[in-house]
Symmetry: C2
Subunit: 247 residues, 2 copies
């Protein structure tokens, strides 16, 4: 999923706001001078910690800000015609969410914490104002949105014609890549979401998710204990997924 900036260095001194954020090496726009960085940080608001189940915004809420995950994990979803949720994405530290509301004045999605989390809020109008003065920030925001579009489209490919195995393999690979990006183990991690959430996201029912996990485990490709996943054969998983999905 989109991050507020491409993985990169942060040579500038950290401002108080972002000082204690483990993500600043990958979360602050590059090619921004110290003074500019300072101005950007000034508008970023740190929220209080969220508990599992807490909402950041709900579908229909007035759109004012976009958000970045500092810690924890969240999901965004919208309601289907028959009233149940359709998860649009999972959001891990360093990733942005809430971009869906950018057009129009309300959030189409609801964002809820999957576990204890904290997020940074970026008031969109102020960011826009700043982007007019900082070309690299504007460019960065355009790319950020473009990345989101690309990710959504890649997900469309996944949901359109892929089998249950392929979908789940792709999700595991996506998570793996995202953990790697944070310098965490790409082969051993804890799923922040339930089987139900996975199924919902991938267009499968829980039973199918469970069965596929069992099957992949029987093939010796993964090892699962509850929410703990150990990927034994990353390449085999890639073979099943067929493609790397940037979700």
């Amino acid at each position: 999923m989109s991050r507020i900036c491409p993985a990169g260095h942060s040579t500038s001194a950290q401002q108080p706001q972002c000082d204690d954020c483990a993500l600043n090496p990958i979360c602050l726009p590059m090619a921004v001078s110290d003074a500019e960085l300072h101005r950007l940080e000034d508008i970023i608001q740190r929220g209080r910690p969220l508990q599992r189940g807490d909402h950041v915004f709900r579908s229909g809420d007035h759109f004012e800000s976009i958000f970045a995950v500092r810690s924890g994990a969240l999901k965004t979803y919208r309601l289907t015609p028959d009233g149940d949720e359709q998860i649009m994405g999972f959001h891990l530290p360093g990733e942005m969410f809430g971009l869906g509301g950018l057009d129009g004045h309300v959030h189409p999605n609801t964002a809820v914490a999957l576990e204890t989390s904290s997020v940074c809020e970026v008031p969109f109008e102020r960011m826009e104002g700043l982007a007019l003065e900082i070309p690299s920030l504007q460019h960065h925001m355009f790319r950020l949105l473009g990345r989101e579009i690309g990710a959504d489209e890649q997900l469309l490919v996944l949901l359109s014609k892929r089998s249950a195995e392929e979908r789940i393999a792709a999700l595991l690979l996506s998570l793996s890549a995202r953990f790697r990006r944070r310098n965490l183990s790409p082969t051993r991690f804890r799923l922040p979401m339930s089987r139900g959430d996975i199924g919902n996201f991938l267009g499968l029912v829980v039973e199918t998710v469970s069965r596929v996990f069992t099957r992949l485990q029987a093939q010796g490709i993964i090892e699962v204990h509850g929410k703990d996943v150990h990927i034994l054969k990353l390449d085999a998983l890639g073979g099943i997924a067929g493609t790397q999905v940037e979700v």
Copy 2:
């Protein structure tokens, strides 16, 4: 799909470039002064007419511009892991496409004309430069991208759990709404794409598309003769789709 601007008025005198474009009432950013409008038009390039099957760009091409459809119809698609195409969207007059390449330097998608078409090309870097000077243009571009994200997400809902009937009803409604926006009949129109394209886009095989068309016709909801569609009961179609899809 995204239009370069929300449907609206265009009080300003048209510049030569856009003079003969039937879409200018819905295709030029509002809240832009004449002088600004002129500068925007200066960077827009009109392309030669495209014949059915002609490409605007191909997957892997260097990303330089985004595009707007002036006339005709196009589709964009990317390749799935096993090498066949997955259509990302159909693009009708007044709509933008090519936004997927905004992140990174290459187009992830291929764009091809479904029929004789013409498109306007907007060099992205120059547009970015202009957006720094014209706040309303920057705002407009952000909204445009946000709209694209919203549309993709809505499509995700559709592809994730909807039945063949629901998908096709949703597509017909989407097309209907888009024709209406252009002041064309929302109940009688010609499909610019083949059954195969429809199926590909919706994650169905041609046979299923054909069967659903036959079924909807038997129910007296639509009347189909080849590519000509007549929607007899728009409300019934809405009931089946459950939701309005902004594709």
